[in-house]
Subunit: 205 residues, 2 copies
DNA sequence: CGCATTGGATAGTGGCTCTATCCTAAGCCT
DNA sequence: AGGCTTAGGATAGAGCCACTATCCAATGCG
């Protein structure tokens, strides 16, 4: 398959594919001659992964390049997962120190998670402090509920990524899964707010 | 207070304040003379609200303008809340039809929420379908757990917004609250994933 | 009395993701 | 064989967005 067909199958403009090639997101096709290259089904998949990470998850080119490079360099899954989390949690900038929030520690103990420093844990600490400073109350009970649910979801997610077919799958599952669950909660909260508001404002007043 | 001091107090560059004035995000100061204007503490608060909506929640200028205009026009709280939800849920584009997903209906019944069409509900429907199409399983139990938690949170949120001091407060609570809770879940999920992954990949292999 | 500041207008910046143009080399089709 | 199409390579431009900077005449304040 050559560039034009790759463009057709993936729905990405040919010029954009060239751009991705230039930026190193997409590996070069197999060069048959100086002016002819062959692309494979792998390229189509790669392109689809790129699209999801761009459009759905909202990563930028540099972040995607980093993740794909790690995947192609055969980085260990654990490191890859950590990298995915770093970009999805947007930790490029705030390279958070090792803040300790009692609430976050409590969560780890409660869930019987390994007591291990991680970017995710730092991020949780920072976030809980931010919410505190904005006067958004987060009760122990709520954290309990959330973390229990996340424990269940993560169990499934990680189990799904052990199937070793493709490392791309790990990126997809972790990044898209995180994003989708977070968005799901957003929508449920909106619906809950709307429901409470209707009760209060319409029936009450 | 004049422009320079307003800039100092709010930490926003004077040129940016002018930009916000031009864009209609910030009401003009009281014109004393043709070349002198007085700004008040209200302007400082407004500016802070704008900053939070921009930097933290990530709304764009047009979205913020819309919300502030509604607030200033004395729109009813219910309408304002709906507007906040529309922008935070990013529903400008996908003006979703009235899709019906059994799962979403089940949530509404389960929580005993009023059976009322709303943008939030449409968004939930669309999102559940999207997750389905991406093969991300969402069990009834998980939806139950999430929605119960959101019911509790929303109860507090909405109660907080009935204090009628300021409509700005409603915008802040609704928008920031939604965003912060969603991000909290993201971080918890990351931590949960990391914890499961450590168990599986380190101890297992 | 002159410096600083204002509103108003307009233009420029910088980051980002594309998208378009131009070029030569070379295979494919008839 | 000859022309159409496509490849790669390089470079430039577009379009969006949120600022940021510059210039201006008017004018109050110290």
């Amino acid at each position: 398959m050559q560039l034009k067909e790759l463009s057709g199958q993936s729905g990405v403009a040919a010029a954009s594919i060239k751009y991705y090639l230039r930026e190193g997101l997409l590996p070069a096709g197999e060069t048959v001659h100086a002016t002819r290259a062959q692309y494979s089904a792998r390229h189509v998949e790669r392109l689809e992964l790129i699209q999801v990470l761009r459009r759905t998850v909202g990563l930028n080119i540099e972040q995607i390049r980093g993740l794909l490079k790690m995947a192609d360099d055969g980085a260990p899954r654990l490191a890859l997962l950590a990298a995915v989390q770093r970009v999805v949690l947007d930790l490029d900038t705030a390279a958070s120190g090792d803040v300790r929030t009692p609430a976050a520690d409590a969560v780890v103990r409660l869930r019987n998670w390994p007591d291990y420093p991680s970017d995710a844990r730092s991020a949780l600490n920072v976030h809980l402090e931010l919410m505190e400073s904005l006067h958004i109350r987060v009760s122990r009970e709520l954290l309990d509920t959330y973390s229990k649910a996340m424990d269940d979801v993560a169990g499934l997610d990680i189990a799904a990524t052990t199937a070793p077919e493709s490392v791309d799958q790990l990126i997809l599952t972790a990044a898209v899964g995180m994003h989708m669950h977070s968005q799901l909660l957003l929508k449920l909260l909106a619906l809950a707010q709307a429901s409470h508001a209707i009760r209060r404002y319409e029936h009450g007043a």
